[in-house]
């Protein structure tokens, strides 16, 4: 068995399942928001605010946000471990991969906290 401590669940099956479930949640959220915009031709700030002020929409949006973070982490972790490897970059690889993953983590954490702040400030 190949060991790895930077993958989301440290287990291939867990990551694989999270990737698929999070994709479904994201699809549902974007389809819903897309339909909402399409069915409100003359969308005003008030309607938009009212939508996000409801608890169920906050829960739904938070689920989409968490899904986005998990999905992006698994996806970019895969990209990093495919291309930023010893085979491609030599001795520099571990540092490059760790650096890249830390940046991804910082960006995702920032987006998550920022979005939660926006959501609960409505």
């Amino acid at each position: 068995m190949v060991t790895n401590i930077t993958s989301l669940g440290r287990n291939g099956l867990y990551d694989w399942l999270v990737q698929r479930v999070s994709a479904v949640v994201l699809l549902a959220w974007f389809v819903f928001v897309g339909l909402f915009i399409a069915t409100h031709g003359d969308l005003q700030y008030g309607q938009w605010r009212d939508l996000f002020a409801q608890t169920w929409m906050r829960v739904f949006t938070l689920a989409a946000l968490l899904s986005l973070c998990a999905h992006a982490w698994i996806g970019l972790w895969t990209v990093a471990t495919d291309y930023l490897t010893k085979l491609a970059l030599g001795a520099f690889a571990t540092l490059a991969r760790l650096g890249f993953l830390l940046i991804v983590f910082a960006v995702l954490l920032t987006y998550l906290v920022w979005a939660v702040q926006i959501l609960w400030s409505i």
Binding site: M1, G12, D82
Partner: protein, 234 residues
């Protein structure tokens, strides 16, 4: 016909190069690529390639034929020539020993890792372990693999992580033993495969299916392994 062949001898060359040969094909006959290699070898004895059975059984002459992996002995020249030219390169992603001969150690190491033999803890019966025709049928499309490495060396995931991802050939064999009713080590075998690399680096692009000279389907076998892991883990 123009034949362009990858040449590299690490002992004398600083870098690999493509060398062109002009070959006279016998009229009214569709040769196999391996026959063409023999005609080239008649011209230039320094060319190195592997071959043995010349009928697609031993898996020695896997190579990249005009951009697609295949066995030289069962690939007709007519199907491989593009714009009047035949281009032969070694299997991609493995270190070249010389010309068309590659070092298959990484490939065999992954094969070894999946324990490609029957493991059974029950006391052996006096004659043999019996299997119903239905259970035997589950091994069809799995046991036929000849380990030519055409599939694994056409798989980008295997190119990037040959030390971690088992690769289509190894996984087809892993499923061959997972599906065998006589093997009792199913759980141990699955535990060895559930990490993020061994199986899950397969992204289902099906290059392996496209090139397999025996017409096997490693992607389907990998899907079966994933389903077994899913049933066990959820």
């Amino acid at each position: 016909m123009l034949v362009s062949i990858y040449r590299y001898n690490p002992e004398t060359d600083t870098a690999p190069r493509m060398q062109d040969y002009q070959i006279e094909l016998p009229p009214g006959k569709d040769l196999m690529v391996l026959d063409v290699l023999q005609l080239v070898k008649d011209q230039d004895v320094t060319l190195a390639y592997r071959r043995s059975c010349r009928e697609g059984v031993c898996g020695s002459d896997g190579m990249n034929i005009s951009g697609m992996n295949g066995l030289a002995c069962i690939t007709p020249v007519s199907s491989a020539v593009k714009n009047g030219k035949l281009v032969l390169r070694p299997l991609p992603g493995l270190p070249v020993i010389r010309d068309l001969v590659v070092d298959m150690s990484a490939f065999y190491k992954q094969y070894e890792r999946i324990k490609p033999y029957l493991q059974n803890d029950e006391p052996p019966p006096t004659i043999e372990r019996l299997q119903s025709p239905e259970d035997r049928a589950k091994l069809e499309g799995l046991w036929e693999c000849i380990l030519c490495a055409c599939c694994s060396t056409s798989c980008p995931s295997f190119w990037w992580n040959p030390d971690k991802f088992v690769g289509p050939a190894g996984l087809l064999q892993a499923y061959r033993f997972l599906a065998d009713s006589r093997d009792t080590h199913t759980q141990q075998r699955l535990s060895e495969l559930e990490d993020p690399f061994s199986v899950f680096r397969c992204r289902g692009i099906m290059n392996c299916v496209a090139v397999c000279p025996k017409g096997l389907n490693p992607t389907r076998a990998i899907g079966h392994i994933r389903n077994m892991l899913l049933e066990r883990g959820v």
